[in-house]
Symmetry: C2
Subunit: 452 residues, 2 copies
């Protein structure tokens, strides 16, 4: 009987082939025309898990089903709750893909397909690691619960409600969120922090109706001009936010975490050129680019609806205009408090010639995970050993609500990691996964089971 | 044989009935589904003019025909070129009309219908005045050329090209543009100035593609933020434009013209309440509301395309965004020069983290007409006598390109006047014309013929 590691080595082709099978299913959860495909991906996963004789449940939600499986044959040992998602992003613009997005193709050691990195190629490493044990020794070194959702790219409402209502069933000693990435090729990473978010809309109304700018220009307030004044009173030219009290609760990263970031293979000039493509980076003086993305709060404008936006010209002073904005918040900022300070400041700086109204949505809190938690230390050892290079601690600027749910609602230490590269194009054409990283990821997770 | 004045008095019902007939034709020139209706209005006018035995020509253009007629039976006397238009604005939102827009209805002495004030009810006063002479004495006190277009509400390209190419045929001693209005009920007015216009679009691009604001917020430039900074560097909170050299050529109105405006029955509080409906008026300190609308340049933002403007939220840092802007210019500002100063300033103040581009359209120069020109004096006497109240000199904040053509290209003194009231709703539901003003307008034009 081979060892689990020997099994994994011997079945590389099978794991790649399974990944390609799953990638051929266009499970785009945001597009209604792919409803059947998205459900098909859930059924594919359920069948794959059942082939290991695991009990599998398709848990229906208001949207797409959760795939739940568990192996609890190691009483007294820790339990790991593993998370991933089987839905994928849309593929537009499809003509920018080198090969069709749902026909997996290998080029230069990378597998190209929509979902290769985000998240099918990651969740399958966890299933492969489990298979390597169950199909050899017949048992795992720890207990495992798997919860795989199909709405990560379209809101994730189903899993949030389920986690809220089934904390008991999901009880575990640690979570593994396989939806993050590596620091660079060959450099495994664990994500210790995520920014939170709170956003909404500033609506400004001036005149009671759209006015002719010839007849009324010079006396009628222009809501876009008012918005420009409000927006420049929210953030200065250096990117510093001017809302009173905004930074009061910002907790700087620990010196050792920051020192770790400075050692990362991050080339700011290459980053600007390859990932941004603008004339220059912006941001608060005195903070490095990684710190600005990971550990500093921001405020962004996403769109400014209102007025005339068609081709040609229409010289209207619009009655109303709006700005869609959001703020990324960091530990220990509180989204509700920030929403309140934002609203108060907008109303205070809005010109008196217009009516301003602020509508804020529901926020998500920031997450910071201590590197001292035992599962983090175990994951670091496992990743370091499997990749042959010391795993590094990073953060992510984005918000992953499910991590907040696991960390906040279930109170669990969460290991956020994965095998996606910074240039994996997770939401763009030519999404890819490095196949060597895929296999090392399987080995890293097997090692992680042992280390736990 | 009755006198022309007696004829006009005796035919009030006929003139009103003819106006209603013309108003029943929905000649909306911007809407292709009203193409036949718009042409029908031209034919209606041609028939009405032919019924006085005038030679009439329908001059085809790339769009709708010009209706041209002339009576040149007074050699040695001055020639008047009269202008109006037979097309009308769309009627949306049609459910806000008290009576259907193309079923003329009289309420409280006013005739309600689309086009009643703008411009059918005005051009028909000129035709009625001519008829009162030709059907009594058989001759007019002056020579008259009539040029009536059908594209005033949709660009006016046809008449501009025709005027450019047929200056000889249109030779006259004065123009009468019947497409303006009264200062207040019972108070006739002559418009001595129009603002010009120059506008375009500021396009700002940051990153090479739309970016996720979570991942890249804090380092990627946001084109909307850059636009807010640019726009607040173009105009300050008091409405003063900050473009270097912008005000250099602004010629203030003559003291006596300004003094006349101060005597106008203009109630700023009522204007704010009834015409604007905003919390307050805006504008440069030290200038009255009328002066700000009529004789001060402005800069307005009409729309800001780009990013995400749908319902809900999408936390994107857009790659591109734009601002559609225009400036109203006054004598002696030059649109081309202003466009250049605008472009230079935008590029100078644009943040260096983005690429800014300015695309300016073709401008229209401002027009100022001297109150000393003999046709203006004649018109003032005629209006004062017909309405029994001294005609006042006003300006209009809007741009009427045909006035620039007549004044600039043909070099003619232009009498810009009409019977539309400030609350005529020319481009809104419930457009109306005061019928007493309609008949006094006919008498005023008859008197104007004599005074010339």
């Amino acid at each position: 009987m081979p060892s689990p590691v020997e099994f994994a080595d011997a079945h590389r082709a099978r794991f790649e082939s399974e990944l390609s099978d799953l990638l051929r299913i266009p499970s785009i959860s945001t597009l209604p025309e792919h409803r059947d495909d998205t459900r098909r991906a859930a059924h594919w996963l359920a069948e794959n898990l059942r082939s290991m004789d695991l009990p599998v449940e398709l848990i229906e939600t208001a949207g797409y089903p959760l795939v739940y499986a568990e192996w609890l044959g190691a009483p007294g040992r820790p339990t790991l709750l593993g998370y991933g998602h089987y839905d994928v992003q849309p593929v537009d613009p499809v003509d920018l893909w080198t090969s069709p997005p749902f026909q997996p193709a290998v080029r230069g050691g990378r597998l190209f397909a929509r979902g290769a990195a985000d998240d099918k190629g990651q969740i399958l490493t966890l299933i492969a690691a489990i298979r390597a044990y169950l199909q050899t020794s017949g048992r795992l070194p720890i207990n495992v619960k798997l919860l795989i959702e199909g709405e990560e790219e379209s809101g994730g409402a189903g899993i949030e409600a389920y986690v809220r209502d089934h904390a008991d069933r999901l009880r575990a000693d640690a979570c593994l969120v396989l939806d993050s990435g590596m620091a660079a090729p060959g450099v495994p990473a664990i994500t210790l922090g995520l920014r939170g978010i709170v956003g909404g809309e500033i609506e400004v109304s001036g005149a009671a109706r759209d006015l002719h700018s010839g007849i009324y220009g010079g006396v009628a307030p222009n809501p876009f001009q008012a918005l420009a004044e409000i927006l420049t009173a929210l953030k200065d030219k250096n990117g510093r936010i001017l809302i009173p009290g905004f930074y009061d609760r910002v907790a700087p990263p620990l010196a050792e975490e920051k020192a770790g970031w400075e050692r990362l293979p991050f080339d700011e000039a290459a980053f600007l050129r390859n990932e941004i493509g603008a004339p220059a980076l912006i941001g608060e003086p005195g903070y490095g680019a990684l710190e600005r993305m990971w550990a500093r709060p921001t405020l962004e404008i996403h769109g400014m609806p209102g007025g005339f936006t068609g081709a040609g010209s229409k010289t209207v002073i619009p009655a109303r205009a709006a700005a869609k904005v959001s703020m990324r918040v960091v530990a220990d900022q509180r989204p509700d408090e920030i929403a309140g300070a934002f609203t108060t400041h907008v109303l205070a700086v809005a010109p008196k010639s217009v009516r301003a109204e602020v509508k804020m949505g529901h926020g998500a809190p920031p997450v910071v995970i201590s590197s001292n938690a035992p599962p983090i230390a175990a994951a670091k050892r496992a990743l370091t050993e499997a990749f042959g290079r010391e795993a590094v601690f990073v953060r992510m600027g984005g918000s992953v609500p499910i991590v907040s749910e696991f960390a906040g609602r279930l109170g669990l230490p969460v290991v956020v990691t994965g095998w996606s590269l910074p240039d994996a194009n997770a939401h763009s054409p030519d999404e890819s996964l490095d196949l060597e990283h895929f296999h090392k990821g399987i080995r890293a997770l097997m090692r992680f089971f042992e280390e736990m």
